[in-house]
Symmetry: C2
Subunit: 289 residues, 2 copies
């Protein structure tokens, strides 16, 4: 096991080379894809994937292409989410959004390209691995990213805009839009190490509760934050389904703490040292970006 | 080997059930995805994939999930291509385009969803197949659909709009935007049957030339067609890179015939009865939709 920053650096340094390994990508498509890949962010998903793989006895190097693929999926979802027809955001992590720099047409294709590149990268790696671990991890990631996962959450978010916040809708959106890719990270990391199904289930449980808490603190940051700290226009989500709209600030803080407790408890079902994951979950309550 | 229509029917009947097999997809996302999947079309890619698999000794049933995945990829590319920020088309196959019916936000997500569903479906099937044929086919399809394949062609098409037609650009766009998915169909079908690399190469060669001819006759139909026959607004591609703009009508007809000859010659490198593929290629010259 390494530190969060060590995993993060591994992912940061590999993203563009992994993309380039696919072959010659025409400009400005490649530039647009790299612009958003290199826009920073906490790299939570690739970090968790590599950490889960190492925790279960695999290597971070085996996990790296899948970690990068997952970050590409996260990045494409942000590009499409920011489009004028979706959230219409001009800023993301303090920088102009993809379509502001490259135009909507290229931004749509850059998003499509990152999603396709993720699947391509994993498929190519799975062929080379020569056993079923890679394809199993890929199936987990594509399912969680897909139309019963992240995209489902995104679509309910989009189509419930302007409606009165309802707990079932907010739960659905949070669990799919945010928790699903975090579950994918932990579960795929474990699968790449060849961990058995009961460990995968424990990893999912951890990541599910941690993911809900993560989205709750995101909602809190949105309410409290100022544009400089978040690097995006805050308050833009005012008419959308959020946990804060449903529970208020204090209720959301309480719920987030409870979810973190559940996440940490789930770790007891995993063998070995799970301090990395407990620390990460507890850190969510103190996040300020 | 079956008839074109038999393969086509197999694909038509399987598309929505394959999508539903992924789990519960929220509305209106599912409806939007099904709307475009069920909008008709010739189903060339799934037909070729299944035919190639059977020609090389595999079964159409093994090939069916991959055939459906390929059609989902083709369908997503049409949805995104029709968006206001791209070609801004109101009609596709005689029906209102996806974003005209469901709104731009849902159409973007329906496109993302179909691309993701394709990868998910193939990964799930590859896991169940338990050997490397499925994952090999998947890698072929994702590569041809991706940022060095179809999306690359799309992006050069978009960014070269308004420029003087140039042979290198038109060739690049044709070969990637159209031929790549046809190559994927034949190559993946052969791979699913476990065909050796030299047969895959022959299949690619056939599909490449056939694909170029297909796009040339598409350009010809666009020039000659009327909206009723094509089911879309013709002449919309007037300021874009087309073979007709480069070679004129007669030159394009001549080039298309030459490409078909090359395609049919490539079939000689394949064992067994290749009449299905020769007939299909020759039929391209007589197409009227």
């Amino acid at each position: 096991m390494r530190t969060y920053d060590a995993y993060r650096q591994l992912a940061e340094q590999a993203l563009v080379p992994m993309l380039s390994s696919l072959g010659e990508i025409p400009e400005p498509l490649k530039q647009a894809m790299c612009y958003s890949l290199e826009a920073g962010g906490k790299r939570i998903r690739p970090v968790l994937l590599m950490a889960a793989c190492e925790a279960a006895g695999g290597t971070a190097e085996t996990a790296l292409p899948f970690a990068c693929a997952l970050e590409m999926i996260h990045t494409y979802s942000l590009i499409h989410d920011d489009l004028p027809a979706m959230d219409n955001d001009d800023l993301r992590r303090g920088k102009p959004t993809n379509h502001k720099v490259f135009g909507e047409d290229v931004a749509i294709l850059a998003g499509d390209g990152l999603l396709n590149a993720a699947a391509e990268l994993m498929a190519a790696r799975a062929v080379r691995m020569g056993d079923l671990r890679g394809i199993r991890a890929m199936e987990i990631i594509m399912r969680r990213a897909g139309v019963t996962g992240m995209i489902a959450g995104q679509s309910v978010d989009v189509t419930s805009e302007g409606k009165e916040p309802r707990e079932d809708l907010v739960s659905y959106i949070h669990s799919h839009k945010t928790a699903d890719l975090l579950e994918a990270a932990v579960e795929a990391g474990l699968a790449l190490a060849g961990a058995p199904e009961d460990q995968l289930a424990a990893g999912r449980e951890y990541a599910y509760h941690m993911g809900l808490a993560f989205q709750m603190t995101d909602d809190l940051l949105d309410v409290r934050g100022d544009a400089a700290q978040m690097g995006k226009n805050t308050g833009m989500d005012g008419n959308k389904m959020t946990w804060v709209a449903l529970r208020g600030i204090e209720g959301t803080e309480r719920d987030a703490r409870e979810e973190i407790d559940k996440a940490v408890r789930a770790l007891k079902k995993l063998p070995g040292d799970t301090a990395f994951f407990a620390d990460f979950a507890r850190g969510i309550l103190d996040r300020n970006s």
